[in-house]
């Protein structure tokens, strides 16, 4: 069966050890984590966690059931597909030699990114977008020389009914 990318979003108790339970479940049962994002919600007693995983459907079902079984997981949603908005942010440090500087700035402009740090030999670019945008940008920047990259992992939210 084909492995697909799944975005799982959870509301969990904001208590010590909760993240460890979730991550431990993935490692202990041999599930895979592509990215993981955690932060407090409006209610300081709960946190929201977004996990991206690669798995086939029966495994995804098992992952979601196992997560739901954890006492500290309050609510779980599979946000895969168009029903949700997904965003990721990245900081990309790219080599910026004199001959490339203009090209990089025009890419930054086209992708509506921001240059947040400049040096004689580099730019750090801040970009936010969905997976497609980030990978398109990275493909363009790669030949110019990416020195470092930091990505946040995906966060997602269900679209409100129209």
């Amino acid at each position: 069966m084909n492995e697909e990318k799944h975005v799982i979003s959870m509301l969990v108790d904001n208590k010590p050890g909760v993240l460890s339970r979730i991550v431990g479940l993935f490692s202990g049962r041999g599930f895979n984590i592509e990215s993981l994002c955690v932060a407090e919600t409006m209610d300081p007693h709960t946190s929201s966690i977004t996990i991206v995983t690669m798995a086939n459907l029966p495994i995804v079902e098992q992952i979601e059931k196992q997560l739901n079984k954890l006492v500290n997981v309050i609510k779980l949603r599979d946000l895969t597909g168009p029903k949700s908005v997904k965003r990721e942010m990245a900081l990309i440090c790219v080599k910026a030699k004199t001959e490339n500087r203009a090209e990089i700035l025009s890419i930054v402009d086209i992708f509506r990114c921001k240059v947040v740090d400049v040096g004689p030999e580099h730019y750090i670019i801040e970009v936010t977008g969905d997976e497609g945008k980030l990978s398109a940008l990275l493909n363009l920047l790669k030949p110019l020389g990416i020195k470092k990259i930091a990505r946040t992992g995906v966060i997602a939210q269900l679209r409100e009914p129209k």
Partner: protein, 561 residues
């Protein structure tokens, strides 16, 4: 009311109905023990913390209550891990209280400090580090609620010394209720209607029950369903006793050492009604050859058990007892006479399997382990609570002691944890002082927690230990015989103690049988003694457990005697 943390803990335990604790004191739980002996809670002092947790596990199984185990920090806590993992695999409600170093020292690598909450996270249903005395009462209440509700399991509470020592104004805790934890007890009736339809059309159905039936007290409902529909019943190891082992509809146990007819029925059936099971690999054998033509109904309270290992036609999430009760009610309205008539061929086929390949062994002039278990069954009239160690002894007990009642077979099923039987017998005997409790043991396993003999004698527990002594780690030897060209690598145990003298050294009674005609007299003498007794049966050294399904093959491909 002003109370100390330890007093709050004990008060809450009392309010949860705890009257017995299995434990072992140590540095950081000194205060707790100092208060404990002033209550009327009975404390059973074991000789090793692993003994405490196994005893608490068996106590829970035999009494239907939550077992409680109390140990100190560091090594005290880590010694319980094996037992916690065993209780977790078998879904047994146990609350484990571990002492912890004072909160300011946590993380400093203090003396006897260990991150037991971190260590036991994957093998507990839930666990807690209590940081504030104010949270203690509610945490204990929550722990009991989680341990016994839904699919039961062990819950650990780590209690730092200073949290136990602080005095606060005590407020009675509120009822445990968690917004994130709500087990589904009531099944979806739509699903149950589908099950009834499948029962109506099935030509070759079987019922397959597991430990969940025993845990939810659903044996009577299961029996009712089987009797009414005349569907034959098999169980997993954990399900033994859920259905009477002497009933004509009984197929015997399924799986690696299941009976020929149970395994063949599974291979040939067209409907499996699975209740409270989790389709463990020892049950299914090679997964894609399991019940190839069968539709599968799976009733279980834990949704993760369903479709974890095998595809299911009709999943039913719910408590076994409630689900079966509803199912029985729906079945009442069905005219079953013609349906049962149509299944005559299936019943005949099962009889044929039963008669051609029954459980069997050759009786010779050397004691056969199967014979010992059979005699034990006869002499106890099948009424004893049987605990087992792990290995051949466990399988012979499962095959030859025909369990008629739930809660009478206490074994480490999922984890397969050697050293379980003796402390388990202690826990079961404490839970049921008027019952005969027998540990069917091997000479290897019994030595893993033999120190608990002292506990049994100290508390005058008349438990009976039947050692099927073959001087080998028998089950591993059996695998070596069958799959490793008889190279018995490190399985020869010819340097064991004299178990008769060992029993005497502990202040117990030791008996021995070396010939078949001594078996009955040794058993009668031992079983009817009021002392703790070890009976050492010198059995045929290279006897193997059959039928056997080699790991990774279809369960219909059995090696037979």
């Amino acid at each position: 009311m002003k109370l100390k943390g330890t007093e709050i803990l004990l008060k809450t335990l009392k309010s949860e109905g705890v009257d017995t604790i299995f434990g072992y004191p140590g540095g950081v739980v000194l205060d707790l023990y100092d208060d404990l002996i002033r209550t009327d809670i009975r404390h059973i002092l074991v000789r090793h913390e692993q003994g405490a947790i196994h005893a608490a596990d068996a106590y829970a199984r035999a009494s239907g209550k939550v077992g409680v185990c109390l140990v100190t920090s560091g090594p005290g806590a880590t010694n319980t891990v094996t037992g916690i993992a065993s209780a977790y695999m078998d879904s047994i409600p146990v609350v484990v209280i571990t002492g912890q170093v004072p909160t300011p020292l946590i993380g400093n690598d203090a003396f006897q400090e260990v991150d037991i909450v971190g260590i036991t996270r994957p093998c507990t249903k839930h666990n807690y580090l209590v940081k504030y005395t104010e949270d203690l009462a509610e945490t204990v209440k929550e722990a009991f609620y989680i341990a016994k509700s839904g699919r039961p399991g062990p819950v650990l509470i780590d209690l730092p010394k200073d949290v136990g020592n602080k005095t606060i104004t005590y407020n009675a805790p509120r009822e445990a209720k968690l917004k994130s934890y709500n087990p589904t007890y009531k099944p979806n009736m739509k699903q149950l209607h589908k099950v009834v339809e499948l029962i109506k059309t099935a030509k070759k159905p079987i019922l397959f029950a597991g430990g969940g039936v025993i845990l939810s007290g659903a044996s009577a409902e299961l029996k009712k369903l089987a009797k009414k529909t005349k569907i034959p019943v098999t169980t997993s190891l954990m399900g033994l006793g859920a259905f009477p082992g002497t009933d004509p509809l009984w197929l015997g146990m399924i799986g690696m050492h299941g009976t020929y007819r149970a395994n063949m029925s599974t291979g040939d059936c067209d409907l499996i009604l699975a209740v409270g099971v989790r389709f463990d690999d020892r049950v299914t054998g090679k997964i894609n050859t399991f019940a190839p033509q069968s539709k599968i109904v799976h009733i279980d309270i834990d949704p993760t058990s369903i479709r974890k290992n095998i595809p299911v036609t009709v999943p039913v999430v719910g408590d076994c007892k409630i689900s079966l009760k509803h199912l029985n009610r729906l079945i009442e309205e069905v005219n079953l006479r013609d349906i049962i008539k149509k299944r005559k061929k299936w019943a005949d086929q099962i009889d044929l399997w039963k008669n051609t390949k029954p459980l069997a062994y050759d009786q010779k002039d050397i004691i056969k382990p199967q014979y010992v278990v059979e005699k034990l069954y006869d002499l106890t009239e099948g009424k004893a609570i049987v605990t087992t160690e792990v290995g051949q002894n466990q399988m012979w007990a499962a095959q030859y002691y025909h369990f008629d009642r739930p809660g009478h077979f206490i074994t480490s099923g999922g984890l397969g944890c050697m050293g379980f039987g003796l402390p388990a017998a202690i826990g079961a005997q404490i839970a049921c002082p008027d019952k005969l409790v027998v540990d069917i043991a091997g000479d290897g396993s019994i030595q893993m927690n033999i120190q608990e003999m002292a506990t049994a004698v100290q508390y005058c527990l008349p438990i009976k230990i039947v050692i099927l002594n073959n001087g080998y780690l028998g089950m591993v030897r059996q695998w070596q015989e069958l799959f490793y060209k008889k190279q018995y690598a490190c399985t020869n145990l010819d340097h064991s103690p004299d178990f008769v003298k060992l029993a005497e050294a502990y202040g117990a009674v030791g008996l021995r049988a070396t010939k078949p005609d001594e078996v009955e007299s040794v058993l009668s003498k031992g079983l009817f003694s009021t002392d703790t007794v070890i009976m050492d049966f010198r059995i045929e050294r290279e006897e193997s457990v059959y039928p056997m399904v080699p790991a990774g093959t279809a369960i219909t491909e059995m090696l037979l005697v």
